[in-house]
C-alpha cells in the first residue's frame, strides 16, 4: 500500500480534527462573552463600501461607489426588491424619510425593469437615485443578509450603521435618528 493513499485517507480525520479544535475555541469564546453568534454586525461599519458600478433603470444612470464617496450630507442606501414583501411594507417608511429631505439611494436586488415599474407605480419611488444589482454580486460584496437592508453613510462616505430588515418606528427612533443627529 503506498504512502500517498494512506495520507489521502487521513485527510478527512485531519480536517475534522481542525474543525473540532476551532469549534472548541469558539465555544470557549462564547462562554467568555467574546463572541455572540446572534449579532449581525456589518463588516462595512467604519469603512467605505466596496467598489461597484451598477446600471440604472431602463438605461438611466445608476451609481457607483465613487458617487457616494463624499455625499454633501448623511444619506441612506436602501437595498430592496419588488418581489420582497417586507420591502413593500417598508415603503411608507421610506417615503416618510424621503419627505424629511434625507437622501435615500436605492439598490434593487435581483430585479427586473418591468417589475420595478409596477412596484414604484404601487408604492411610490422614494429614491433620489436608483441602481440595479441584477446579478446580485454587489450584494455579496456588501454582505447583504437579505432585503430590505439599509445602510447609513456619513459625509466622509463611511458606513456608520446597517439595519437588516424593515425600518420600523422603533428602529427609526432608537437607531437611525440619534445617528443622523450625530453625523449631520
Amino acid at each position: 500500500m503506498n504512502t500517498t493513499r494512506r495520507l489521502l485517507f487521513t485527510a478527512p480525520l485531519a480536517a475534522v480534527a481542525l474543525g473540532g479544535a476551532a469549534f472548541y475555541t469558539i465555544l470557549e469564546r462564547m462562554e467568555a462573552n467574546k463572541y455572540d453568534p446572534h449579532a449581525l454586525p456589518s463588516p462595512l461599519i467604519g469603512k467605505k463600501p466596496p467598489a461597484f458600478n451598477l446600471p440604472g433603470l431602463n438605461g438611466a444612470a445608476g451609481f457607483a461607489n465613487t458617487d457616494i464617496a463624499a455625499p454633501p450630507r448623511p444619506m441612506l442606501v436602501n437595498w430592496f426588491a419588488s418581489w420582497c414583501l417586507p420591502c413593500a411594507e417598508e415603503a411608507p417608511m421610506m417615503a416618510q424619510l424621503a419627505k424629511t429631505g434625507l437622501p435615500i439611494w436605492g439598490i434593487a436586488y435581483q430585479d427586473n425593469a418591468a417589475a420595478l415599474a409596477n412596484y414604484f407605480a404601487q408604492y411610490g419611488n422614494p429614491y433620489a437615485r436608483l441602481a440595479l444589482d441584477t446579478p446580485g454580486l454587489t450584494a455579496i460584496n456588501w454582505g447583504v443578509y437579505g432585503v430590505p437592508e439599509t445602510y447609513l453613510i456619513d459625509k466622509d462616505g463611511i458606513v456608520r450603521w446597517r439595519w437588516a430588515g424593515a425600518i420600523t418606528d422603533d428602529v427609526l427612533a432608537n437607531g437611525l435618528n440619534p445617528l443622523l443627529a450625530k453625523y449631520s
Binding site: M1, R5, V16, G20, F23, I26, M30, P37, L85
Partner: protein
Amino acid sequence: MIPELGHFALALAVALAFAQGVIGVFAPGLRDPRAMRAAPLLALSHFLAIGAAFLALIYAGVVSDFTVENVADFSSSLVPLIYRISGTWGNHDGSMVLWCFILSLCGATVAAFGGNLPASLRARVIGVLGLVSGGFLLFTLTVSDPFTRIWPPPLDGAGVNPILQDPGLAFHPPVLYTGYVGFSVAFAFAIAALIEGRIDAAWGRWVRPWALISWCFLTAGITLGSWWSYYTLGWGGYWFWDPVENAALLPWLTGTALLHCAIVVEKRESLKAWTVLLAIATFSLSLSGTFLVRSGILNSVHSFAAAPDQGLFILALLGLTVGGSLLLFAIRAPALAAAGVYAPLSRESALVVNNIFLCSIAAVVFVGTLYPPFSDLLFGVQLSVGAPFFNQTVLPLTAPLILAMAVGPLLPWKRAALKPALERIWLAAVAAIIVMLVMTEQTNAITALGLGGGVWVVLSALSDIAERTKLGRVGLGDSVTRLRAMPRAAFGAALGHIGFGVLVLGIAGMTLATQKVVVLNAGQSADLGGYSWTLNDIHDAPGPNYAQRVADVTISDNGKAFLTLHPSRRMFTTPKVITNDAAINTNGFQDIYVVFADEPASGGAELRLNRHPLAPEIWFGGLIMALGGALSLSDRRLRVGAPARKKKAKVAGVAAE
C-alpha cells in the same frame, strides 16, 4: 411517580446501551457466540427501556403534570391533546429523548430483522449503534434531563408556542429525526465493515435499504418542514437558507450520493472506500447539524436554548463519534480495493458525476453555513452569509446535475455509448429546449432554465419507463405486462427522478410569484395577477384556545367570483402571541395565498395577497421523491436479496438495470 419511573428507565437505557455497545463490538473478536447472541437481545431491551422513558414523558405532558419542569415550561392544560403530546418533543430536552428513542429503534430493527446478516457483522452493527446511543443517552441523563421536578408546581404551564401548535409541526420532528437518525444504521454498517476489513457486493445490498428508508424519511421530513414554514410563517417563503435548514439539507445531499454509490458497490464492487466515507459523512453531518445548532454556535431562527456546558459535552461526543470513525477509516480503508473496472463513459462514471455534483453542492452549503463563526475566529470579522450567497453558488452546480441526471440512468454498466442513450431521450431534450425558449421570451432566463430543466428531468424519466415497457412498439397489453414485470427498484428510481424534476418545476415557478400588500376597507378590492381581490367583511370567530378575527376575501376573475378565503389573526392568551393564519387555496398548479396581517388603527384590514404559480409542485416533488424511494424499497431483491428471483425477472424479458 410516573416521571421517576421514566427517569429510572432512562438510566437503565444508558446502562443497556453501553452493554450493547461493548458486547456487540468486542464479542465477534473474542469468537464468543453466546456473547454475539446477547447483542440483539440487549438492543431490544435498550429499546424497551428508552420507549418506557419516552412514554413516561408523554404521559406527564398529557396529564399536564406541572411538577415536571419540562411540562411546566413548554405545555399548558389549555392546549389541545395532540399539542400536549407533540409539545413533548418541541423543546430541547424532550427532543433529545425522541432522538435517542429513534436511535434505539434503529438498533432494535437491525436486531429483529437482521437475521440474514452474518452473526459477527450483525453484532458489530448493533454494537456501534449501542455506543453512539449510550453517549447521547448519557448526555440526556446528566446535562439535559427532561424529568427534573419543580416544587411548588405552577398552577398552569407556560404554554406551547402558538406557531408550533400546528399538525404539520407535530409530525415534522419525528419524521425528520427518523431520517437523520436512520443514517446511523448505514454508519454502523460502515464502521462494522471497517472493523472486519471487508466490503463486498453483499455489504452494498444490506446497507442500501437502510440508507434508502432514512433517505425517504429525511426527504419527507424536509418537505414537511418547508411546507409548514410556507403556510405558517405567512410570508409565502419555502426555504430560507437558515442554518437549521442547511443542517437538514447537508445529510440529504450526501445521503443521496450514498444511495447512488451503494448501487455501485452492490453491482460492481467499486467505489468502496468512497461509499464508506459517505456513510460516515452523512451520519456525522446529521449529528453535527442537529447538535451544532443546539450549541448556539450558529445563528438560527430555530433556537433551542442550550447552556455552554451542554455545548462542550456535545462537542466531546461529536469528536468521539466522528473522529473515532474517521481514525478507523484512515487505518483500515486504504486496504479496500476495487474489484470492478469501468470505462469513462458508463453507469458507474455517471454515478461518480452525480456524486461529484452532490458533494460539491454539499461543500458549498457547508462552507456558507459555517463561515460566519469561522471568519470571526480566523479573521476577527463577524459577518453574515445569507440567501444571496447560496442562490448564487448552488444554482450553477445544480444545472449540470439536472443535465446529467437524465442521461445517467440510461447508460449501461461497465461501458456505454452516448448515442443510443441520447436517442432514447431526444423527445425530452426537444421539449425542454422549446419550454426554455418560450419561457425566456415570456419571463426571464433563470425561470426559463429552471422550467426547462424540470421538464427535461421529468420527460426523460418517463421516456425511460416508456422505453423499458416498449410503449407504442408492442401492443398496449404487452406494455402493461412489461410495466408490471419491471423491477420496482427501477420504477422507484425513475419516480425519484420525476419527483426531483417536479420539485425543480415548482422552484422555478415560484420565481414568478406575484404579491401585494394592501389596506382595504370592507367592500373595497385590489387587483393582482389578473384577479380582483375583494374584502367583504371582518368578524370575530371562536377558537379552542385563542380568539380570532377573520377576514372574508373573495377572489374573482373577470367579474366572476370563484373563491372566498378566510385568513385570520389568532390571539393566544398563554403565552400572549398573535399569529397570522394564512388562507391558502390550491388547484394543484397554483396557490392563492392571503394573509390577514394587521388591523390598522385607521380601520379596515391590512392584507397580503399572493399568487404563487407552481408552488404546490415543490411539495408534490418532495413527496414523489419519497414515494419513489419507498417503491424502490419494496423491491423484492432488496428485501430478501434472492438471486433466484432475479433470474426469473430476466427470463420475462425486461432489461436488467
